[in-house]
Every structure is written in structure tokens, then in C-alpha cells.
Amino acid sequence: MTAQTELAIDASGLGKSFGETRAVAGVDLAVPAGAIYGVLGPNGAGKTTTIRMLATLIPPDAGSARVLGHDVVAEAATVRELVSLTGQLASVDEELTGRENLRLLGRLLGCSRAAAKARADELLDAFDIAEAAGRLVKHYSGGMRRRLDIAASIVVTPRLMFLDEPTTGLDPRSRNQVWEIARALVAEGTTILLCTQYLEEADQLADGIAVIDRGRVIAEGTPADLKASVGTGSLYVRLLDPARRAEAAQLLERTVGPVVLEPEPAALSATGADAERAATAVAELHRAGFPLVHFSLQQPSLDEVFLALTGHAAEETSPSTDDLQEHLS
């Protein structure tokens, strides 16, 4: 095997316009096989369009991409044999039952009738949808629909799977289930390209992340790199006694970093906190005799990442981002 085939996705200068809109403006991606790679960006950044090009749904109008060593345009049919897509819109048939959906896909992938039926039942059990197997999908809950969607993507286990915002709109329980399934897939050797708007999701799952904004990759690295560039999270503290806030602020400035006084009279947060420093700071507050009502360590949000990377919030226009990209690489 050459080094070339070690990349699950190798895209360079990938671009796509819809009318006047340049949805994807030259995306370069090098996704190693056997891992989860996150593409992080706000709505409308070009994530879905990128996925659709890589999954052979729409042809790029600039650049090129190879998926598992095959060109997405010239060898689209081969690519289709190796990938599957869990789209942002649930890619299952709502007017059929869960079992029928899986049997349908089994048949379309070339399984015999009996094999398709057996595979459907196996997946329904494994993904905890067996009791709803005979119900129409349109009556499913969001989490169940997502699980069915992913099950449908692995009727024949793909070498590469596209997960487009798999947990948007899900409750925490369903979200955890989806994450566990994604981890299990990777453990069994599938590569996953994960598009998400949530830094936390990318942090939880991905080994590498590309941040995408206005159709371009503006930063790339491990989750740790990315968070480091944002300057970690912030420690939020609410005191019992608002009168002692100024005192507490001094202590936090000293142990953690710059303090912001929150709108609530007894609350304040210190930026630049990691778990270690936050634990120390909370312990010191306690030792110094500040009764605490609440404290939490907050992850930087996607907005903060964007602010740090581009100097603007997720939706506004940006200055040149080249220097930032250099800064990260």
C-alpha cells in the first residue's frame, strides 16, 4: 500500500457554486483512514455541500477529491460501493417501517431476501429499535430515527461513513447513544467524516478537526490545538453573598485569569481556566470561606472558537484568515 491510499479522503481545492453563491471555495482536506475527522463550522459554512461532493451526490466545479483512493467524479460508482451517508435530513423512508427500511437497503445492496431480513433484525436489536420495528418511521422519536438512519448506513459496513450533524436536535441521552455508535464504528475500522456545529461533539469524537467558514478551511489540527488557540474555557462561580463578589474576583484573577462580572449580582467567571486551575481556584475559594451556590467549568463555544480564529463571530464578514491558519499549523 502506498502512502496515498492511507488517506481516506484527499481533497484539494474543492469548490462548488450555486448561482452567485460560492458555497465551497477551495477546500483542502487530508483525512487519515481509521479515525473520526471532524468538520466544524456554523450553518451555511459549506459543510453539507462538501460532504455531498465527497459522497458523489453533486459534482464539484473546481478542484478534485479522492475517496479511499478513488476519484469522486471519474470513479463515482466505486466510491459509492465504499461509503455511506447519514444526511442532515434523515436518510430513511418515513412512510415505511424501520424493518422495511433496513430490508429495502439490504436488497438494494445485493443481499438475498433471507439475508436482508436477518441483517435487518440483527441491526434492529443492536440499535435498540426492535420494539418499534413494525411502526412507520414518521412516528419515531428523533433519537430513534437517527439510530435507524445510522443502522441503514451500515447494512453493509462501509469503509467510510459521512455523518452530517448526527446529533442536532437530539436530547443528551440520544446524543450519547449516537456517539457510542460512532466510536464503535471506528473501533471496527470504519473512517468517519463528521460534520458538526458543536465544538464539544468534535472534541468528544474527532481525532482531527478542520474548521470551515464561508466555504474555506480556516484552521486545522487536533481538538487540543484548537482549544489551545481559543485559550481554554472559563470558570463560572455563583456566590451565596453578592457583597463578597469583589473579594472573590481578586482571588480568581490571581489563581485563574481575567474575571468577568456576570449580570447576576453574585456571579462571576474567570477566563482561561482549564480543569486543573479551576479545581485549585474552587478549593481556594472554599478555604478562604466563600460559601458557593454553584460553579462550573465551561467549554469554549463554537462562537468563541470563531472569535479566536477569525476575530469575528460565526456569521459576520471576515478579514483575511491566512495568518490565523499559519498560526495554527
Binding site: 460508482a77 460501493e81 451517508l85 443481499c111 441483517r119 459496513t157 457510542e180
Partner: protein, 278 residues
């Protein structure tokens, strides 16, 4: 014993991993097998929502009753004489109306994410389209059968007998298979299922009325008669009538089939191309 429990919501990871690792890729299905699977999908939808068949049969049955009893006497002298004339034509109308729904259901499909999945499968590209029309053909047969059965209940007795009725139905369904590609193109071009329905009926309704389905064209003013005579729906109705009567009109049958083949030859590739690019 430990106090640590797994967080609620954990899927059974071992079972998931088993399910992931337990597959091998079967050989690609052939074009026919893929298309038939999509046909099966169409059948499943009918099974889940059988009412949708009513939509397509109620109107023609209404026309059958209305025309036979309201106008039959005036047009043909007696209701039974008119039933003999118009039933083979109503069979045509009933089935052709159903073809509009093929375009509507294709358009509905496109608004759903499932089409993306179909398009990323390693299958013969037109399979979803050909398959859903194969499924729809079953609906055409049902729509046609309903009309014939209601006609027989009202006293219609075709001279061609069962063979005549079945071959007329077969011809009409074959024609519809060709015509439905036109509505598939509409289904791919227009924005909403309602728009497809409106545009479809705006075309099929006047074409059906400006044919010999309801009246003998000889009674019409000259230019109109000329149009009605060349209208393919008239030719199809004539062919259907001849088969029902047990005296097949070879020319009308051949022209009907040729028109169907011509429509498919133009609109099938167009449909496939639009489906791919949308």
C-alpha cells in the same frame, strides 16, 4: 459490586460492534433486481396507506356514473348503449389520471432525505425511477380493474369477453408506462407536489375530454374533429374499444404502443438526467 453504573442511554455497545463487524459485501444487485426492489417499496406504501388508491379511482367512477346516467340517454339514446361506447374510454381516462400521481409521488420523494441515500448506493442509476413506475403499474391495473368491474356491475358486457377486457387493460397500462415518464419530468422540474398535480391535470384533463372517450367525434365541428382524431388518447380509446369488442383494430393498437415507446424514448433519459442532477 461497584456503585458505578453505566450512564443511561448507553447503547449495547457489544451488540453494536458485533453488528458492525458481521457483514461482508454481497455482489452488486443487477439492474432488474434493484428496480424490482424499488417496485416492492411502492407496494409497501400502498399497503400502509391503502386510501391513496381511492384518490385515483373515485374521479373516474364518478365520471362513469355521471356520464352514463346523466348524459348517456341524450348522447347515445339509452344508458346501456352509451355504457358500451364510453366504458373502454373511461378505462383509458381512469388509468391515465393515475399516471399524474407518479409524478406527484416522485416530487414528494425528492423533498425527503432518503433520495440522497438511494443516490449514494452502488446501483443501476435509473433503478429508483423504473422501480417506482413498475410499482405504479400495479396501481394502474387496480384503477383500470375498478372501472371495468363497476361497468360490469352496471350492465356492461364486452363482446370480447374476459380476454378482450384484459388485453384492453394491458394495452392501456403499457401506454401509461410510457406516458408516466412525462409526469416524472414534471415531477422533477416543479417545486411542489401540488404544482405537479395541477400542471399534470391541466394537461391530461383537456386532452381526455378533447378525445373520443365521451362522444363520437363525427358530431363535432370540423377543426375540433380533426384535432380529436389525431389525439393519441382517441387512438388509445379506439384501440381499447376494439379489444373490448373482440375485434382488435391493429392500426390503433400499433400507433398507441408506438406513441408510448416514443414518449418513453424521449422522457426516460430526460428523467434520469434530471434525477441525477437534482
Amino acid at each position: 459490586m461497584t456503585a458505578t453504573t453505566t450512564a443511561p442511554g448507553s447503547a449495547d455497545t457489544a451488540a453494536v460492534r458485533r453488528a458492525i463487524s458481521s457483514t461482508s459485501r454481497p455482489p452488486r444487485p443487477g439492474p432488474l433486481s434493484a428496480a424490482l426492489t424499488f417496485g416492492w417499496r411502492g407496494m409497501l406504501k400502498v399497503k400502509h396507506v391503502p386510501e391513496q388508491l381511492l384518490d385515483v379511482t373515485v374521479t373516474p367512477v364518478m365520471f362513469l356514473l355521471m356520464f352514463t346516467y346523466l348524459f348517456g340517454g341524450a348522447i347515445a339514446g339509452s344508458t346501456s348503449a352509451y355504457l358500451d361506447y364510453t366504458l373502454p374510454g373511461l378505462l383509458v381516462m381512469s388509468v391515465l389520471f393515475t399516471t399524474v400521481y407518479s409524478g406527484v409521488s416522485l416530487n414528494t420523494d425528492l423533498t425527503k432525505g432518503v433520495v440522497d441515500r438511494f443516490r449514494t448506493l452502488p446501483i443501476w442509476r435509473p433503478a429508483p425511477l423504473v422501480g417506482s413506475l413498475l410499482g405504479d403499474s400495479v396501481r394502474y391495473v387496480i384503477a383500470g380493474t375498478v372501472i371495468i368491474v363497476v361497468g360490469v356491475a352496471l350492465g356492461y358486457r364486452p363482446d370480447g369477453g374476459v380476454v378482450g377486457a384484459v388485453s384492453a387493460l394491458g394495452l392501456v397500462v403499457a401506454f401509461s408506462f410510457g406516458l408516466s415518464w412525462v409526469f416524472c419530468v414534471l415531477g422533477l422540474l416543479l417545486r411542489s407536489p401540488n404544482a405537479v398535480m395541477n400542471a399534470g391535470f391541466m394537461a391530461i384533463f383537456p386532452l381526455t375530454f378533447l378525445s373520443n372517450v365521451f362522444v363520437d367525434p363525427a358530431t363535432l365541428p370540423g377543426p375540433l374533429e380533426a384535432f380529436v382524431d389525431v389525439n393519441p388518447i382517441s387512438v388509445l380509446a379506439t384501440a381499447s374499444r376494439s379489444l373490448m369488442a373482440g375485434a382488435p383494430d391493429g392500426e390503433a393498437i400499433v400507433i398507441s404502443l408506438a406513441v408510448a415507446a416514443g414518449l418513453a424514448a424521449v422522457f426516460l433519459p430526460l428523467t434520469t438526467r434530471l434525477y441525477r442532477s437534482r
